[in-house]
């Protein structure tokens, strides 16, 4: 076991903070990630030196900040092998998916196929507008991804799945789903919230039509997200919001929306958020995403193998092959009287270990598993094997 990326810890000021005078162990990056110094600097620089609006100003600072904002778009496009003109800035993954759900003309009788354990953000926007066909799960919650073909009907209008589920921590077979979708002429949307900071992303190789991600899980600021839409899909989406910045003609008779992604970016955008996210992906890419994935899989393997050894621990999608997992494990503990929330609180208060406890915005999954919540430990580039050991020791102690 190596901690090849542990040197990156120095770049995260947040990891130097303590709770009750003791250093913390942060294993909650699936919820939100700490920010490296370069992201903090990029955001701060906007406030200190770049106070201007984008795409509107006609002065030097406006030119500079517009260039930085668009440079961030180029960096993000490059990060996922898209074209900048295919990148729309949104508030987060949720808004990105809602933008698609609202823009493809769904009718109440249309069907959207997705795994049953999807996060609310990739479930409710479809449910609001169409019928959802949730794919089956194995007993431990692992989606039956291979059954996708059998779930499609003539009414299927779109397929949606998380590249890496926020509960299962398993890399989904996106290409299989893309092929199934495209054989029917329908688009595939990929929720990359969890995968973006663990797995090299290539929208061309995935062959997806839409891809959504959030900045705050990707070492970037909160309130900034991204929708990738294949060029022709983006052109076909109907307008989601209207307002300033997205229109190129507005007269008494009509209005004409602008071209490319800006037609979906009405109003003043989250400028500093986008620039911060640009800095985040550049930083992450500088580590090499192949190395990042390898580190994540190492930690995931360590975590799952050790959890399997603890009696009374049940891992969500525990039957998934280890090589398909990232550094994330969701697990239930058979400890009567101790809810997942209570255990998470204990881990924080007694051991300064921060994890998630609850439903993780995946109520359907927990309903099917008949569990009142679970714990989730999730890693990032800065985590070490020693921190995994600390968590495992704490869980064992609590279970005693």
């Amino acid at each position: 076991m190596s901690d090849a990326l542990s040197r990156t810890r120095e770049d995260f000021p947040f990891l130097r903070r303590t709770i009750d005078g003791r250093p913390l162990t942060y294993l909650d990056s699936a919820s939100t990630s700490p920010k490296p110094q370069c992201v903090i600097d990029a955001v701060t620089r906007v406030y200190l030196e770049g106070t201007s609006n984008v795409h509107r100003g006609v002065h030097t600072i406006a030119d500079e900040v517009t260039e930085s904002y668009e440079e961030a778009r180029r960096a993000i496009a490059s990060f996922i092998n898209a074209a900048p003109s295919e990148i729309v800035f949104t508030r987060n993954t949720t808004e990105a998916i809602n933008l698609v759900a609202a823009g493809i003309g769904l009718q109440p009788d249309d069907e959207v196929v997705l795994p049953a354990l999807e996060h609310h953000s990739n479930y409710l926007p479809w449910r609001l507008r169409a019928r959802v066909t949730p794919l089956g799960l194995k007993e431990d919650g692992l989606p039956l991804y291979d059954d996708v073909e059998g779930s499609l009907t003539p009414r299927t209008r779109l397929l949606a799945l998380a590249h890496v589920s926020n509960t299962a921590g398993v890399i989904a077979p996106v290409r299989l789903w893309a092929d199934a979708a495209h054989a029917r002429g329908v688009p595939l949307l990929v929720d990359a919230s969890q995968s973006a900071s663990h797995v090299p992303l290539d929208v061309r190789a995935l062959d997806c039509d839409f891809l959504a991600l959030s900045g705050h899980k990707l070492l970037g600021p909160s309130g900034i997200g991204v929708l990738y839409a294949r060029r022709e899909r983006l052109a076909a989406l109907s307008l989601y919001q209207t307002g300033g910045g997205m229109v190129r003609y507005h007269g008494e008779d009509r209005f004409e929306a602008g071209e490319g992604p800006q037609r979906f970016e009405a109003g003043t955008p989250n400028i500093e958020g986008a620039i911060g996210l640009g800095a985040a992906v550049e930083w992450l890419r500088g580590l090499s995403m192949t190395a990042v994935l390898s580190h994540s899989q190492d930690l995931g393997r360590h975590l799952v193998e050790a959890l399997r050894e603890i009696r009374g621990v049940r891992i969500v999608a525990g039957s998934a092959p280890l090589e398909s997992r990232i550094g994330l494990a969701t697990f239930g503990i058979d400890a009567p009287g101790f809810s997942p929330e209570v255990i998470a609180r204990l881990l924080c208060d007694r051991y300064q270990i921060l994890v998630s406890g609850g439903y993780h915005c995946a109520h359907i999954l927990h309903h099917r598993l008949r569990r009142e919540g679970t714990l989730r430990a999730s890693t990032h580039v800065f985590n070490t094997h020693a921190e995994i050991d600390r968590l495992l020791a704490a869980v064992k102690e609590i279970m005693k």
Partner: protein, 442 residues
């Protein structure tokens, strides 16, 4: 470009040029507010002109930003009347972000500079001796065609004998439909001259080729607006195999300064400009290369002296150009923008052209952008022909190590596309290290 007049006095003897420049200099120092402070540094008309010039400061874009318009207009001119009559107006350059400046624009002088520059290349000289049609392909920012009236029709984009083809900010987002529309308009309009940003024309050429579209063949292509990469030139050459391609160098501030002759040498337009090349300091770069300082001649409304355009040129050495032109400065190559230079691991300047020449040998390379992030670290974003990505990346690594030095750490990132900056221009290279012209050039 579309206004014709009888040729001006074409006597371009060095003596005549020196006398005209001396008179411009004397008048500017006496009558133009901004240059009054320079007067104290002027050794006076008894000193050779080159020595006088060397004693004067360099005019920068920062100076323009601070003093346009009144600082550069002669006292005696009734500028209000000039603006009211439409003789002059204030325009803003497209630049790249922090280089944007406003200038006093005098259309008649601009037209003259263009006409005179056209005389340098025989194909252009022929075309500009009579009325002709011209199409422009560049960013709508550069073409001044950014409008707030939505999509403009071909008729709305045609001004006299000039057609503006492009309406999109990002040519990498053009699809086949856009290119087909432009190809159709070219065929219908039938321009004799196609003036283009080389990056835009290369994208158009590649897209048209992939879609099997044939493009109208003009009598001449003029490349301007930004540095033409060899990659661009190859793509353009394939789409327009028998059309002469001429590079023209100038700027909104200076008018047309250099035009390539049929032998590829850039010759100076002596009628409306005087040019000095301030070479690199010893040890900082190739001494045959320097920054271009332009003084404008005969512009009654806006006189620039020793203006640093922000670009580099390599002075032509050795035998005179075979085209026979002897007068004025001869430039072997425009080397790109000074702010886009990178540095090798020993701190010596690598110009955009130096980089472009080196990468020309990378097989399958279709586009690139190099960013130097530290004295020995370089990130190369590149696009390549399908299936050749790995070989291209390997070749780029090797070629750049040869260029920057064995200690260079080079990271290659394959891209789907490389998009332009907000100005609409593609930057082939840049460095995060400070680039200070006054320290690099002497």
């Amino acid at each position: 470009m579309y206004t014709l007049s009888a040729p001006e006095d074409t006597s371009t003897s060095p003596e005549r040029h020196a006398a005209r420049f001396q008179s411009t200099l004397d008048r500017a120092l006496l009558t133009i507010p901004f240059y009054r402070e320079w007067k104290a540094r002027d050794p006076g008309p008894s000193v050779p002109i080159a020595q006088r010039l060397a004693a004067l400061p360099v005019l920068t874009k920062r100076d323009l930003r601070a003093h346009v318009p009144d600082g550069f207009m002669p006292d005696s001119r009734a500028s209000a009347a000039g603006f009211a009559s439409g003789d002059i107006e204030i325009v803003t350059t497209s630049g790249t972000s922090d280089d944007r400046v406003s200038v006093v624009w005098h259309q008649a002088w601009w037209d003259r500079s263009e006409r005179e520059a056209a005389r340098i290349h025989p194909a252009l000289a022929r075309l500009f001796s009579r009325p002709h049609r011209e199409a422009v392909l560049t960013s709508p920012v550069c073409a001044g065609a950014v409008c707030h009236v939505g999509d403009a029709s071909m008729a709305e984009r045609t001004i006299g004998s000039l057609l503006f083809l492009n309406q999109a900010q990002d040519p990498t987002a053009w699809d086949e439909r856009n290119v087909r529309r432009m190809a159709d308009e070219l065929r219908e309009f039938g321009p004799e001259v196609l003036e283009a940003d080389p990056a835009y024309l290369a994208i158009m050429a590649r897209t048209a080729r992939a879609a099997g579209l044939s493009l109208h063949q003009p009598a001449c292509i003029v490349l301007t607006y930004e540095f033409p990469s060899r990659i661009h030139l190859r793509a353009i050459g394939r789409a327009f195999p028998d059309v002469p391609v001429v590079s023209s160098y100038g700027s909104t501030e200076t008018g047309h300064v250099f035009t390539q002759c049929s032998h590829g040498t850039f010759h100076q337009n002596l009628e409306t400009s005087h040019v000095d090349i301030q070479p690199f300091q010893p040890g900082r770069g190739d001494p045959a290369i320097g920054r271009i300082l332009v003084s404008t001649l005969d512009n009654p409304w806006f006189t620039l002296l020793r203006f640093d355009v922000g670009d580099l040129a390599r002075v032509r050495g050795g035998a005179p150009c075979p085209c026979g032109r002897r007068e004025g400065l001869a430039i072997a190559a425009i080397e790109g923008r000074l702010r886009d230079v990178t540095f090798d691991t020993e701190g010596r300047v690598v110009t955009v052209k130096g980089l472009d020449d080196a990468l020309d040998r990378a097989p399958g390379l279709t586009g690139y952008q190099v960013v130097q992030s530290a004295p020995t670290r370089y990130v190369v974003r590149f696009t390549a022909e399908p299936g050749e990505e790995a070989a291209t990346a390997g070749a780029v690594q090797e070629l750049l190590k040869g260029l920057y030095g064995a200690r260079a750490e080079i990271q290659t990132l394959r891209e789907n596309v490389i998009s332009p900056e907000q100005s609409g221009k593609f930057r082939l290279s840049r460095s995060t290290l400070p680039v200070r012209p006054e320290e690099l050039c002497a």
